[in-house]
Symmetry: C2
Subunit: 360 residues, 2 copies
């Protein structure tokens, strides 16, 4: 009697495009005790009632079940770190279905994207690349002046989550020092710990890498942080009403005013959302040289219109919101789903669980 | 009588071009007890007898004193890590004037150059750059496939000196594992230590970062190392008769044959000398896809002729022997000179001393 076969729980992957066959195979291998099905849906299209009602777990980017169809869903996993694009959906506002995110898996690719942009800017990669296309063996003088490495540089990280922590890890390896800025105070070892999923061997699990921690939600706290003499400012904050246009003319001027002697002017990196930056002010600061450059994976709006002046601002490097992408993205997301399936079976709290009401 | 002023020792900087005035000021600040003079000489031109005879210390790239003029020189400091370009000069073959090098200062810039090239290749930076020039907001699909980060990748480093060690440090921060290969065995903690000058906060002073150490001077040892399933091979060996054409068709085939499943093909980085690689074989391996790419700061010959096929080999990134350059280069060199001036005054052994007869 005890050996009656239980139906395998259904994991529904609702995505806007087909994955390669090898991917479905690999995912199924990770869930020998579950049935994995797939639906291709235009982003934003709700998951049809029959599919939603059969699902134990939904894994999705922008397609959600209606609350009335979600009564048996154990959790919905979002294939993104932030939920700002779905925050007003009824499943978030009018249901209590547990929601989890892929927060934590973005550290490695986004830190590599960040480092790539810093180094391309600081080491004049575009010149090397253009010279090679023309078969020109450049002169050493062109590289001896104006190029500095990261030893002793100060890296300020706004938002010290999994992304900021892996950027910190790499920065410290380069010989730089890291300064963390968070909304709420983190005075104790416990408060500095990273409680999200962490890609093994990366990040700053115990929060020991920053030489100092700073916090606040008011202008004065932010300005005091931006006055530390930073060479880099990295924006890895969630977009909320409070962080909208957090950095503008005043903040860029402050950064430049505290630039260490002999160093290049401060460099801005945004891997959060375009709206965190006052983009007009950014263009002005790049033009004046107040900022020595900026790496932007996000803009306002997206896609950035073809005739937008940001494209040609001096020393800006723009990519089309791709810093988190890579072949590992979905595999790592399913590592979190697997972990949470096991936790759910054991009746333990889920990791990467979204707290309703926090607004991001 | 005891207070008769001793003449200040003369530090002669013999270089092929003028430095900015601020540089001479800064160097003089570092040597309040010495007189710093400067000579501009075409590379290879000997230092005139009168200048050489007055010098206590010579700091130079390619201009050397004649042995008969060097009797009072306490040491000659070379502004490079390797001495292969001056190894047959009489001052090295027919004198015993101590010779020191700038070995140790190259870790930060060259590791940053290395990382830049890895990331530009792995994250498709050239597409991002070309798209930005054309104001094109690219598609996520173009980045989701083919891009992998460095978590779990295996980095093989041939020659584990200061450069290899800083590359190791950054690689480990990325989540990769490091394998060291050296000519002689390094079985003990003492033998794994870095005894050169180390830029503070960088490198692997105790040699604890590699997951395993390998060694040998024969083909079999090298081939066994190249069979570890490496994703990256970094050449940071000195050029000697034994390392000339160390890597060729057989080695590239071996690397490709052991590529881990699902990973890109192995990537070659050369920051040593062009002659360590069989360049014809490299071009063939890039064309066949056996190697997924190569970052070359050195070529054979240099400058690389405009019509050389290497320029357009698939997935090759070539820079004109500039990976070590940057504004810190000469300051850090003078940090070593200052350290050795103090050691010389105290009668202690010099750091970064060249051992005659070793051949590099």
């Amino acid at each position: 009697m005890g050996d009656a076969t239980l139906p395998k729980p259904n994991i529904l992957l609702a995505f806007y495009q087909e994955f390669p066959a090898a991917f479905y195979d690999e995912v199924r291998n990770r869930f020998p005790d579950a049935e994995v099905t797939s639906l291709i849906l235009e982003p934003g299209t709700p998951i049809p009632a029959d599919a939603a009602k059969k699902a134990a777990i939904v894994v999705t980017s922008r397609s959600l079940p209606r609350p009335e169809d979600a009564k048996h869903i154990k959790f919905i996993h979002f294939l993104s770190a932030g939920l700002d694009k779905v925050i007003h959906d009824p499943i978030l506002t009018d249901s209590d279905v547990p929601v989890t995110t892929s927060s934590g898996i973005h550290g490695p690719p986004i830190s590599e994207w960040t480092l790539l942009n810093w180094l391309a800017a600081s080491r004049n990669f575009n010149k090397t690349y253009e010279d090679q296309k023309k078969h020109i063996w450049g002169k050493g003088e062109d590289y001896a002046v104006g190029i500095q490495d990261h030893v002793g540089k100060k890296i300020g990280i706004l938002g010290y989550g999994s992304i900021g922590r892996q950027i910190a890890r790499v920065s410290v390896a380069l010989g730089a020092t890291v300064y963390a800025f968070t909304a709420s105070p983190k005075p104790t070892p416990a408060s500095r710990r990273d409680n999200h999923y962490i890609v093994p061997g990366t990040g700053d699990p115990d929060g020991t890498l920053p030489v100092s921690w700073h916090h606040g939600t008011d202008k004065a706290s932010l300005h005091s942080f931006l006055s530390l003499g930073l060479d880099h400012v990295v924006v890895s904050l969630p977009l909320t009403p409070q962080t909208t246009h957090l950095l503008g003319a005043e903040e860029f001027a402050l950064l430049a005013a505290h630039k260490p002697r002999g160093h290049r002017n401060p460099y801005l990196t945004n891997i959060s959302r375009g709206q965190v930056i006052d983009q007009g002010a950014l263009i002005a600061s790049l033009k004046s040289g107040e900022l020595s450059g900026a790496a932007l994976d996000v803009t306002d709006p997206e896609p950035l219109p073809e005739d937008h002046p940001l494209w040609d601002a001096p020393n800006v490097q723009i990519s089309p919101h791709i810093s988190a992408l890579g072949e590992e993205y979905f595999y790592r997301s399913f590592d979190i789903v697997r972990e949470n399936l096991e936790r759910s079976r054991r009746g333990e709290p889920l990791i990467n669980a979204y707290k309703r009401g926090r607004g991001y």
